[in-house]
């Protein structure tokens, strides 16, 4: 009886070994791969945070005071379109007779063009500034550097940037609801800022 029990136990252990061993080996391989992956990327949150702080200071020193406050408070910058012709004057109902246009510049997201009067979204321009030297394993600039690069390229040579970008209809990457909500936040922010300026001006007069 004991002998039969021992033999059965040995058979069960052998079968379990056969079944479980490949799975155990697979898990060990995955674990080794995960460790190797972490060591290879070299992502350092502290370094990235310091880089972002430096980038914010550079952005602040370059853009207008209003644009900096906009980025600080809302997380994006509005840049006015500078192409002299712009939408054709009186062309269609949608362009509202030569309405000026502008862009919303987000970090690491497409640039969204829109008509300020109607808040109508026009298009998305997907553009990146990849640094292929990858000094720390990544080609991605800090968020504020990405915004500054877009701002400089838009204010310095709008046509070249727009010609380089991939143009899509609104909604491909940036949710149109989110973009419209950002435009509404921007108008509320400007209203509050204007009211604050008036209050401080009247306070100074008194």
């Amino acid at each position: 009886m004991l002998l039969a029990l021992c033999a059965t136990t040995i058979v069960i252990v052998a079968l379990m070994w056969e079944v479980c061993m490949p799975r155990i080996e697979e898990e060990l391989d995955k674990r080794r791969a995960r460790r190797a992956h972490v060591a290879g990327v070299g992502f350092d949150p502290g370094r990235e945070r310091r880089a972002e702080q430096r980038a914010r200071q550079l952005l602040k020193s370059c853009v207008n005071e209003e644009e900096w406050a906009m980025y600080r408070d809302l997380g994006f910058i509005r840049v006015w379109g500078r192409n002299a012709d712009g939408p054709e004057r009186g062309g269609t109902d949608r362009t509202l007779g030569g309405a000026p246009y502008a862009y919303l510049v987000y970090p690491h997201k497409p640039i969204v063009s829109f008509l300020p009067q109607t808040r109508q979204l026009l298009s998305e321009y997907c553009v990146e500034f990849p640094d292929e030297t990858r000094p720390y394993g990544s080609a991605r600039l800090p968020d504020s550097d990405d915004v500054l690069a877009k701002w400089m390229a838009l204010t310095g040579d709008e046509r070249r940037l727009i010609a380089t970008a991939n143009m899509h209809l609104p909604g491909r990457q940036v949710d149109p609801k989110q973009a419209r909500r950002d435009l509404w936040r921007l108008s509320e922010w400007e209203r509050a800022r204007l009211a604050k300026d008036r209050r401080s001006a009247s306070g100074a007069q008194a």
């Binding site: 370094r47 980038a55 550079l58 370059c62 990849p130 550097d145």
Partner: protein, 82 residues
């Protein structure tokens, strides 16, 4: 005049600085400028428009840099994404 370069994981890096009116400095600045553009960078000079608004001027040659510019910022050239 300072030459700054945006760098992933670091923020801006000071490449070199000098007075373009001094011959030796100018040569060093020109060499650094050409090196960055050859490496595929775009160069921009932050400036103030006559209206007072701030803007950037994209420069493709050293001679296009305004003489009173304090900084030239180099950043990776744009590429279509998404």
């Amino acid at each position: 005049m300072k030459f700054l370069r945006m760098k992933p994981g670091h923020g801006e890096v000071l490449l070199t600085e000098g007075d373009p009116a001094v011959r030796a400095d100018e040569e060093r600045l020109v060499a650094a400028f050409c090196e960055q553009l050859d490496a595929g960078m775009w160069a921009a000079v932050p400036e103030r428009a006559p209206s007072g608004r701030r803007q950037a001027k994209m420069v493709k040659q050293f001679s296009e840099i305004p003489t009173d510019a304090e900084r030239v910022i180099f950043f990776p050239r744009a590429a279509g994404g998404c």
